[in-house]
Amino acid sequence: MTDNDTTTDLKKLWRDQPEEMPPMTLELIHARGFQSRVRQRNLIEYVACGFVVCIFSAYVILLSDPILKIASALVVLGTLIVACQLHRRASARTAPATDALGFHRAELVRQHDALRSAWFWYLAPFAPGMLLFLGRLALGYPQMPLVYRLITPALTLAYGVVWVWINGRALRRLQAEIDDLDALRQ
């Protein structure tokens, strides 16, 4: 028998394998793609939370000003609350094998609700610590040049504006996806 005989037979055997899985529907693809995006977003958020916890924990230890120490500890506490809330309210879930459409819609609504209330569970826990920290920096050190005292509050404000804009855009996209799904189901 030649090499070609054997490989021709093997090619045929390979391509004649029976299909065992049902074809993937677009709805299931969208659902899995959405969960994967959520997982990726949350991973970035957890890494950012870890970074903030490390930095402000170091402030608690290294800074001498007791008010800044308390403010830093509050920021660490707020960050831990945010990470827990993120896990509770907006973590990715594994799609069940059946009713992909229903599951996907429920997940879109869940993420939409989580984003809509994000000011409460994502921003508010930071507020006490950050306000105290920024207030102390701005008002407690008059000998520092004004630009240094204002730069952190300015950056924080800029972050807040960008956050509101991104959040609003994400909410509109989620709502559009929910509407598309509803149109598909009718």
């Binding site: 030649t2 054997t6 037979d9 093997l10 391509r15 993937m24 693809i29 899995r32």
Partner: protein
């Protein structure tokens, strides 16, 4: 829904309709466990769907599809660090021992199991070449998908054909 998403859906759907069964076979060459294999197939489909957002038509849909699928599947097996040390190159695979029961090796199922065992033993680059060869792609297409030069692909195919003949000579599948 915006037109870009509709195009992406349409391109994905066409690729999945044409190459869906090949993607399932490909997953079989990377994952033995049926549950994990099902997850891998789904991951490949999601990655393929996503990839069509960036498809620029500079290669054929078939090349694009296999490229994405093999990349996802290779990442899948590379995550399992304990398996990595067991993979062999084409030249490192020893001739198989003579079968105890030659009659049993003649069945298609048995031949398929042996072929899959062989594929899963190979290092990812050789595995890709072998599976693409079994899908009947030529050396140029395989090179385009794997990134190997056509010459390197031809050498690998030559060695793989010899290996397959030694391995399956006594147990011809048909």
């Amino acid at each position: 829904m915006d037109s870009a998403v509709v195009d992406q859906d349409q391109q994905y759907q066409e690729a999945a309709d044409i190459h869906g069964s090949a993607l399932e076979r490909l997953a079989g060459g990377y994952e033995r466990d049926p549950g994990l294999r099902r997850d891998l197939v789904q991951d490949i489909h999601v990655a393929l769907w996503r990839s069509f957002a960036a498809f620029d038509g500079r290669c054929s849909v078939r090349t694009w599809t296999f490229r994405v699928a093999h990349n996802v599947a290779t990442s899948h097996v590379l995550r399992r660090k304990r398996d990595r040390g067991k993979w062999l190159g084409i030249d490192e695979i020893a001739d198989p021992p003579a079968p105890d029961n030659p009659e049993a090796t003649t069945g298609d199922r048995r031949a398929m199991d042996r072929l899959l065992d062989l594929i899963r033993t190979l290092k990812p680059a050789d595995r890709q070449v072998l599976m693409l060869y079994l899908e009947d792609l030529n050396a140029a297409e395989i090179g385009e998908i794997t990134g190997l030069s056509p010459g390197a692909v031809s050498v690998r195919i030559h060695r793989l054909k010899a290996l397959l003949t030694i391995r399956f000579h006594d147990g011809r599948p048909t």
